[in-house]
Structures are given as C-alpha cells and as structure tokens.
Symmetry: C2
Subunit: 160 residues, 2 copies
C-alpha cells in the first residue's frame, strides 16, 4: 500500500474520462442546476456557452466519479497482489474551483490528479498532508476544470 | 432590478432548504460518488460519518439548486412589478469549499448567501465584482457547508 512517504511530488495520474452526452447534461441539470443553457440545446446556443453546456457542478461530480472508480481499480489491484488497502483520510476541503472553458454536449473530459506538495503534520504525527491539483481536459486538450485539494495520508509505520 | 450599486455588504439572504432523504443521497451517489457510506445505511453507520451520508458534491449541487430556484422566484417577482430582469454575469470561480460536518439521511439543510465585499473593476467599467459567502446549516443550526464565490454584476447605467 501507499504511505505518505511514497508520494512523489509532481507525479500526475490519469483518473479516467467521462463523456458529457446531452442526456447526462440534462439529467444532472434537471435535478441540481435547472438553468436553460443546461437543459435545452437552443437556449445553450443562444447563451455565452454557445451550446448545451454542462453545469459546473456536473463536471465536479464527474471528476469525483472517475476518481472513485480509479481508486477502486487501484485497491483491487493491490488486493490482487496480496497487499493491505487503507482508505485515505478525510479531506479538509477544496480550494480554487475553476471552469476556464465550457463543457458542451459531446465533449469527453479526461481527469488528472497531480501531487503539488506534501508536508508532515505536527499535531497528528501518524498522518501527513498532501496537496493535489485536480484537472479536467477536453478532447482537444483544453483545460476545462481545476481545483486544489488536500488530504491526510497515513505515515509509514516504523520498521516498514 | 438590482445593480452592483444596490448590493449591501453584510446582507444575508436565505436561499431555501433541501431535505437529504436516503433516496436522494443514494441516487446522487450511485451516479457520481459511489462510495459505500453514501450508498448503504449499514456502511454509513460503520464509517466516520456515523450514518448514511450525502456526498459533499451532492450538498454543493443542492445549494446550486436552491440558489437557482431562489433567483427564479426573485426574477418572477421583479417581472410581476414590471421591472427589467438581468441575469448575473459569469463567475470567475469558487474558493474554500468546506464540509465541516456530515449531512446525514433525514437532514434538512437551509442555504444562505451573504455579501462579504464588493469592488469596482478597472478593466470592465460596466461591471462590478461582488464577493459572497454561501453557507448551509442543518436543522440544528450547525454549519455543514460553505464556500466563497465572486461574481460580476452590472453597474447602474448613468442617469438611472
């Protein structure tokens, strides 16, 4: 399993991809963000977005989904190797959510996670804190989403 | 209609409330955050959350939903008074998303929006920038969600 000590700064992982079909965009928007440009092609075309656009929270939720799936695959692979799997610790929160370009119907966004820094924590010596930049790029390689996260990770036990 | 000049710092608006039923928690999680403590009561009870817990992104999406509904009601009321309604400008992004306490099945979260500061923009004289703290409180008045947003608002045209 991976401990805080194993985390390499600058390491970038591809989490997976999510295709924003018109159906998925409208299904999310009808429940959580029912603005016309998220619900209707014509309203989207007439908007600043220039097309049926995904809610920004849909993009965030899609990033979560591919992240969960990615962790699940990694955990399954670790278990197949006979290694222990320990879930990550709680996240203190997220910073600087940005949606620099719209996500339109038909776009496929690939999400990445990059470790930007890490530090030991004085108050919780069994944990370290890692800082991660999560990003999403569309099929043209354009940045459409980013946010910064921090998370606690278990320190390697002495002797391991 | 409301212009940048009309915005009062410290003004706090109640946007509305959203009840996190077990059904809603599982419906969101099954699509966007399929972790056991968001999908299953027993797994939730055994987790740090102590019960079936809403995904943090579900809480964010619910805040969006009550915000959209609130703006829609305000726009309808303004139209009924014969006033023009102008949609807000684009948001440059969000900061400091926090989930200080879990949202559990059965909780009702009331969302609020408070203007914390505002400033004129030099590069876009027809717009001003307002800074808003959005929060969610459960039925016991405990803070369960917060984030900071900024948004452009139209300046009042000269002579109005």
């Amino acid at each position: 399993m991976q401990y805080f000590e194993d985390v390499v700064i600058g390491a970038r992982r591809e989490l997976g991809a999510y295709t924003f079909t018109a159906e998925r965009i409208k299904a999310f928007a009808s429940k959580y963000d029912p603005q016309p440009f998220h619900l209707d092609e014509e309203a989207g075309r007439k908007s600043l977005f220039g097309g049926l656009a995904a809610s920004g929270w849909h993009t965030a939720a899609a990033c979560m989904r591919v992240g969960v799936d990615s962790r699940r695959r990694a955990a399954a692979a670790a278990q197949a190797r006979g290694e222990d799997v320990v879930a990550g610790g709680p996240s203190p929160g997220f910073k600087n959510l940005k949606w620099p370009k719209p996500v339109l119907a038909g776009d496929t966004v690939t999400f990445f996670s990059e470790v930007t820094s890490k530090r030991a924590t004085v108050t919780r010596p069994q944990w370290g804190l890692i800082f991660v930049l999560n990003t999403g790029e569309n099929q043209r390689g354009e940045l459409v989403f980013s946010f910064e996260a921090s998370a606690f990770m278990a320190r390697r036990p002495r002797g391991n």
